[in-house]
């Protein structure tokens, strides 16, 4: 990525990014643009460079911050109404580390509210559009971040990946995304979704950029007891077996888009030509990963969203008159406090947030805990073990990120199960806590059921695609054992 130096100034980098942000306003990429502060910082950095003072490894690089990271700049909303008005008194650890290397936050990006979703359609601020077809979804939940990088609004972007939220939008928009090993980067200051699978990661244009970002942001943080001791860059390189696996159950799945299957086979050939042996793996337990994930994740979601009650910060409902908001059959003894909780959460959460709160509370409720939560926790252990066994045989596993390329806006948002099925190939990685790198692997031959004649963009010059709109990006992911983050990036680099 471009870094400010004697030939390129931070101001010109920031101005270029701001220009793109303005150009793609209709894509709903940003929830906040840090215009003045970013330019001010850029000028400071340019001054340092001019004076020969040392600058950070990310000097002047404009980056987009997913709006679920706490930062003192702008409101941290997680694209949820209930957090509107929240100004953070502190920065997330990840933000601190990026800023310490002189990166410049250019704006906050849109997401599915609280990262609940696979399309960024569940945002209080409206959906982000796909970088290559504005009738299609950006993917999610980090849709804004992926599109920001794809369209040049930022040199890189932060993301969070709880069940595919970095990899799927990366693959829908033709950029690179890393979902690091669980605990590689501190979660401190990142709005929690499902704490046991949440990871912080990045979007960028090259594996080398992701490598630099990982070396900047990873490491033990005393403020996050689940963060791992420093390992990035210290991995044992002698582990290489020169073997790449693929998962039979994924490749043979009738749900898998044929073009993605072809792209996968092409990349396997590429690995073979680099001297890797290709190994077919059967991972039958992965069949249960989606069900397991959609029990554990909503449980943690329901718990993590309990703190949003309108008492201390963010949005509080003004409709607190029982005569107006309570139906006749509701408890007439409802207190003002009950109403405050009820109305604030009723109005402040999106439909999908509420769906997960209800599922989560159900699986945690007394009498159902053993049947659902505990059983899912056991299934998770089996999935972890199955991956461990697989990585005794291979260095990495090549897999699709999602069964299909970007789908249409509105196509799945009212059909939660088909939306959840989007995650079938991404969630096993999160349950196992292993790293994965999503990378572009070509384009569709044509835009499936393309409606390009009815392109909604009024101004054709705003059309972002350098590629014809008839084609959509295809994405794959490479999975490895825990702490193999750097090797995965190197292996992806080999087959580009």
């Amino acid at each position: 990525m471009k870094i400010a130096n004697q030939t390129t100034s931070a101001v010109s980098l920031v101005q270029a990014a701001l220009g793109k942000i303005d150009q793609y306003q209709d894509w709903h990429i940003f929830t906040f643009v840090n215009r003045d502060a970013a330019l001010k910082r850029a000028r400071e950095i340019d001054k340092k460079i001019k004076n020969g003072e040392p600058v950070g490894r990310l000097a002047g690089v404009p980056y987009a911050l997913k709006d679920n990271f706490l930062s003192k700049e702008g409101e941290t909303t997680a694209s949820a109404k209930i957090l509107t008005g929240l100004t953070s008194p502190l920065n997330a650890t990840c933000v601190e580390k990026l800023e310490a290397e002189d990166a410049i936050m250019i704006g906050r990006t849109n997401l599915d509210a609280f990262a609940h979703g696979s399309s960024t359609e569940n945002s209080f601020f409206g959906p982000t559009k796909n970088a290559f077809d504005p009738e299609r979804v950006a993917g999610g939940s980090s849709g804004g971040s992926a599109v920001a990088v794809a369209l040049g609004c930022a040199e890189f972007a932060t993301g969070t990946d709880t069940g595919g939220s970095i990899r799927q939008p990366a693959s829908f928009n033709g950029v690179f995304g890393i979902k690091p090993t669980y605990g590689a980067i501190s979660r401190y200051g990142v709005v929690a979704m499902a704490s046991s699978t949440d990871v912080v990661g990045f979007f960028a244009k090259t594996p080398a950029d992701l490598d630099l970002l990982m070396s900047v942001a990873s490491g033990k943080d005393a403020k996050d007891l689940t963060s791992l001791p420093d390992f990035y860059g210290f991995e044992d390189k002698k582990l290489k077996k020169k073997k790449i696996g693929f998962v039979k159950e994924f490749v043979e799945s009738p749900a898998l888009n044929p073009e993605l299957k072809t792209a996968l086979e092409a990349k396997l050939s590429a690995f073979r030509s680099k001297g890797y042996e290709i190994v077919e793996l059967s991972l039958p337990t992965l069949e249960y990963a989606l069900a397991t994930y959609y029990i554990l994740q909503p449980a943690e979601v329901a718990s993590n969203l309990s703190r949003y009650d309108g008492i201390r910060y963010g949005f509080r409902s003004k409709n607190l008159d029982p005569a107006k908001v309570c139906s006749a059959d509701e408890n007439p003894e409802k207190t003002a406090l009950d109403l405050c909780y009820q109305q604030t959460r009723q109005e402040g959460f999106m439909r999908e947030n509420k769906r997960r709160i209800m599922i989560g509370n159900f699986v945690l409720s007394s009498g159902f805990y053993d049947a659902y939560f505990l059983k899912a926790a056991k299934a998770r252990t089996l999935i972890i073990k199955e991956f461990e066994k697989a990585f005794e045989k291979v260095d990495a596993i090549l897999s699709p990120v999602a069964p299909n390329p970007a789908f249409r806006l509105g196509e799945k948002v009212n059909d939660p199960v088909s939306m959840y099925l989007e995650d079938v190939m991404s969630v096993p990685v999160n349950l196992a806590g292993i790293p994965a790198v999503a990378f572009p692997a070509g384009w569709t031959e044509s835009n499936p059921a393309s409606k390009s004649t009815k392109n909604p963009t009024k101004n054709p010059t705003k059309n972002p695609t350098k590629n014809p709109v008839s084609k959509l990006p295809l994405g794959l992911q490479l999975l490895g054992p825990r702490r193999s983050d750097k090797q995965l990036l190197e292996m992806v680099e080999e087959i580009l």
């Binding site: 929690a192 007891l225 689940t226 718990s303 703190r307 949003y308 007394s366």
Partner: protein, 492 residues
């Protein structure tokens, strides 16, 4: 602090009113606030005494999004020490869980506790009677905030949020109101001696929830229980149990059922009242806390903390059994500092032990001297010197008490008892020759003549007057016992 020695009267009253009609089964949960420097999950001050509301609160405590709990190692160490004070097993592996409920005193919407795997396993507390009350387990958890309610609004103070609590759960081994009180008191003493809490009951450092059920003596199953929440004195524990016995036995007498419920206690009315029924009890939706890894403690770590536990009441009872009267000892066993000082005396100045113990219990702990008792006690050597001067009749008992109390005053901290006695001119005259001279002077005085005659005629009562006259002449410095003896000899 009710420091009265255990009285048998209340228990006798219970049994005489209700001669064995129903058996009482009591189990007690106690919340102990641990005296750590910082909170259980954040690095802000844990001691909010005298501080403005919401001034000891970090973003972790008020649950800003994205905040993660950091476990306070000191709380873990204090918990282990508390475990030692309960003769309990420490679990090398324990975990934290979330207990969910909505209320403004709980900013996260859940309390972090140890529901599935507590840090402390089975143990027991031995009562002064010798009965052992078994401890089921004890676990670490964060305290809640405080609400204050006004006419049309309420305020919340988060200073207390995530103050470390150790919840100690007893087995239902307690069978009378008196025993319930004794258990609470003995538990309090053990926590105080183990030095894990400030133990200030008035300020809620220890709170008791008492579960009470009644059953007919022949019944094999326990009756339905009621839980009385948030008692904060030994006396209210005892009174609440007595009240509940009356209430429940009346219901049972009339063939009515006991409702399983939570009840509150009012010291003012002396009654318990229903708070909420367990039938519509909240479902806490417990879940493992994903932000805190399991707590793994090494054997060495546990051993080190276990053996760091200071002497406990039962240790002192054993050590002092033959050296001090039981009544005195039981009074002093509310005060770890006094006991530790007495222990030093017993080792290095054994002769002073009984006298100083008596001064502690009868003089220092008298209500009018309450303000003198703080963390700064006179050193053992000073106390021993005082006891020695008294034993050598260098000080009258009145003067000795006076000097004893002065030793606790800040302005006298650096003075020895002898220096103080000299300064205050309190050293007694014991020298026979000097005393005889004084006596002779008094006997020569015409105003004592009639008294002398009376004494010789067998009216021994007047001796007091004569001794008093000598004391007066000595300006109070003469040893009255010696004077009396000498006078008797003279007048024979």
């Amino acid at each position: 602090m009710p420091a009265t020695p255990s009285s048998k009267t209340t228990a006798d009253k219970t049994s005489s009113q209700n001669p064995q009609k129903y058996g009482l089964t009591i189990g007690i949960e106690c919340h102990v606030q641990l005296k750590t420097k910082t909170k259980l999950f954040s690095e802000v001050d844990n001691d909010a005494r005298g501080k403005a509301p919401n001034s000891c609160v970090s973003p972790v405590d008020y649950a800003l999004p994205g905040m993660l709990p950091r476990l306070n190692g000191e709380a873990v160490r204090l918990a282990i020490r508390a475990g030692a004070a309960m003769n309990a097993e420490i679990n090398p592996k324990s975990r934290f869980d979330r207990k969910h409920y909505f209320y403004p005193d709980s900013p996260k919407g859940y309390q972090i506790t140890q529901f599935y795997s507590p840090i402390i396993g089975a143990g027991f507390i031995e009562l002064p009677s010798g009965k052992k009350i078994r401890i089921e387990h004890a676990h670490l958890e964060g305290d809640a905030g405080k609400l204050s309610h006004y006419a049309d609004y309420s305020l919340v103070d988060f200073n207390r949020v995530d103050t470390p609590l150790l919840e100690i759960v007893s087995m239902p081994d307690i069978s009378s109101a008196e025993e319930a009180r004794d258990y609470c008191k003995e538990l309090w003493r053990n926590m105080l001696f183990a030095d894990v809490t400030n133990g200030d009951l008035y300020n809620g450092n220890m709170r008791f929830d008492v579960n009470i059920s009644l059953k007919k003596p022949e019944a094999t199953e326990l009756g339905t229980r009621a839980e009385i929440k948030n008692l904060n004195s030994f006396r209210s524990v005892e009174r609440a149990v007595l009240y509940e016995y009356e209430r429940q036995s009346k219901l049972l007498d009339h063939g009515e059922k006991i409702v399983q419920e939570t009840r509150g206690w009012s010291d003012a009315t002396g009654k318990t009242t229903a708070q909420r029924s367990k039938e519509v009890a909240q479902d806490y939706r417990y879940m493992p806390e994903p932000d805190l890894p399991p707590l793994n403690l090494s054997e060495d770590f546990i051993q080190a903390e276990y053996s760091a536990c200071p002497k406990l009441p039962q240790d002192y009872r054993r050590d002092f059994a033959k050296k001090l009267p039981t009544d005195t000892l039981e009074v002093l066993l509310d005060y770890p500092l006094l006991m530790s000082r007495l222990s030093e005396l017993a080792t290095d100045h054994a002769a002073a032990l009984a006298y100083i113990a008596n001064l502690f219990s009868s003089v220092l702990l008298a209500e009018e001297n309450a303000s003198l008792l703080n963390d700064k006690l006179p050193e053992a050597a000073k106390l021993a010197e005082l006891a020695d001067m008294k034993a050598q009749n260098e000080l009258s008992s009145t003067s000795a008490k006076e000097i004893f109390l002065k030793l606790f005053e800040e302005k006298h901290y650096d003075k020895s008892p002898r220096a103080l006695a000299k300064e205050l001119n309190l050293i007694q005259e014991n020298d026979s020759a000097a005393l005889e001279a004084l006596i002779n002077e008094v006997l020569k005085d015409p105003s004592t003549k009639s008294a002398q005659e009376d004494f010789k005629n067998g009216k021994e009562k007047v001796l007091g007057f004569l001794v008093g006259s000598v004391m007066k002449a000595s300006k109070g410095k003469a040893n009255p016992a010696a004077v009396s003896k000498l006078l008797k000899n003279k007048l024979k």
